[in-house]
């Protein structure tokens, strides 16, 4: 009991210097979707005489969390990461023939600022993939799998002149590169694997009180 009270007391004292973290944004990149290790677009092109193309993949994510915590390596935020990646493959011969792969991801993560204006994000967790065949109106959902993501971004709000920074407060914009992936088993025994290198832009609300004092 004493340990619990001590933990709560330390947490409250610790948390008084912290605040919320939130970011939301999207990115674009070239997604690779593999079924049992085989690139679906490549396989479909073999069957359809190179009449298959794919749209640029879309990545979307929301992170909410708390921080910063000082661990000697820069301000660190603990977050919950919710995101999706989507990959559309379409048939040049028929406009209505399209296969859409979507992976929904959720899991815990951390945000780290090794340099005041460079943000590194790491997440890992669970994922569910869906396959939607528009023409046949078929939607298949995979079993639960796992996901991971790593990102590096430039934090525009952290490197502004003091007057601009005062105006923005804790609001900011991020621009960066993200690599995320997922692996999901399906009812048929086949595995859907998606990998997405993407460039993203995000709006972020970052409680910087501790971070500012540490950087000075």
């Amino acid at each position: 009991m004493k340990k619990v009270l001590l933990f709560v007391t330390v947490f409250i004292a610790f948390a008084s210097a912290q605040g919320p973290y939130f970011d939301v944004g999207f990115g674009f990149g070239e997604i690779k979707t593999r079924i049992d290790g085989k690139d679906y677009v490549k396989e479909a092109n073999i069957l359809l005489a190179n009449n298959v193309n794919d749209h640029e993949g879309i990545e979307f994510s929301i992170k909410t969390g708390y921080g910063p915590f000082g661990l000697g390596i820069g301000p660190l935020y603990v977050v919950a990461d919710l995101g999706l990646i989507e990959h559309s493959v379409f048939n040049n011969l028929y406009n209505d023939d399209e296969v859409i792969f979507t992976t929904y991801m959720f899991g815990p993560g951390v945000i780290l600022y090794p340099i005041s204006f460079i943000q590194i994000g790491l997440s890992a967790g669970l994922s569910v993939a869906t396959v939607n065949m528009a023409k046949e109106n078929i939607e298949i959902e995979s079993d639960l799998g796992y996901m991971y993501s790593a990102s590096v971004a430039y934090d525009f709000g952290a490197n502004l002149e003091p007057s601009f920074r005062e105006l923005l407060g804790n609001h900011s914009f991020l621009f960066g590169f993200k690599y995320s992936g997922s692996r999901n088993p399906t009812y048929s025994g086949k595995t859907i694997k998606m990998e997405t290198p993407s460039f993203f832009i995000k709006y972020a609300y970052i409680h910087r009180k501790k971070a500012v004092s540490l950087s000075k």
Binding site: I35, A44, L47, A49, V52, K135, S188
Partner: protein, 139 residues
């Protein structure tokens, strides 16, 4: 005596019923499912295969009588053609699997004929639809 004869006839009748039901089971064949059913035709054609790295087509099917798998193989050696690559002028039983062999691919990619991913015009089979990602089979 009449009772024995009755029991003998009854036994024979039961044995015949059992044999018929068993033969029904075997007739389903190794590839038959409710989802995929072959309508029957005397000709198959795979188009445009020579424009990429397809080097052969195999049709695997069940003969419907004794569950034997029949395999039709056709090697494609000519390059540059863009139309007819495989014609099989034989009546094929139901539920064939079509397998496509390409260069540098150790396994065959197979798919059942009446998958919605394929267009069937009553005579030729055209691969014109995106394949179902989870139905492509490697044998």
């Amino acid at each position: 005596m009449n009772t024995k004869r009755f029991l003998l006839l009854l036994g024979i009748a039961l044995a015949m019923m059992l044999a018929v039901s068993c033969s029904d089971d075997t007739n389903t064949g190794p590839y038959e499912t409710d989802e995929f059913y072959y309508h029957g035709s005397d000709s198959f054609k795979v188009i445009n295969a020579s424009e990429h790295d397809i080097t052969g087509v195999t049709i695997r099917t069940w003969d419907g009588a004794d569950s034997t798998i029949i395999e039709y193989n056709e090697l494609i050696s000519k390059k540059g053609g863009s139309k007819s690559l495989l014609m099989l002028n034989e009546v094929l039983p139901r539920n064939p699997l079509m397998c496509i062999k390409a260069e540098n691919r150790p396994k065959l990619d197979c798919i059942r004929f009446n998958s919605p991913s394929y267009t069937w015009d009553g005579k030729d089979l055209y691969i014109t639809r995106l394949p179902h990602p989870l139905e492509m089979e490697a044998l």
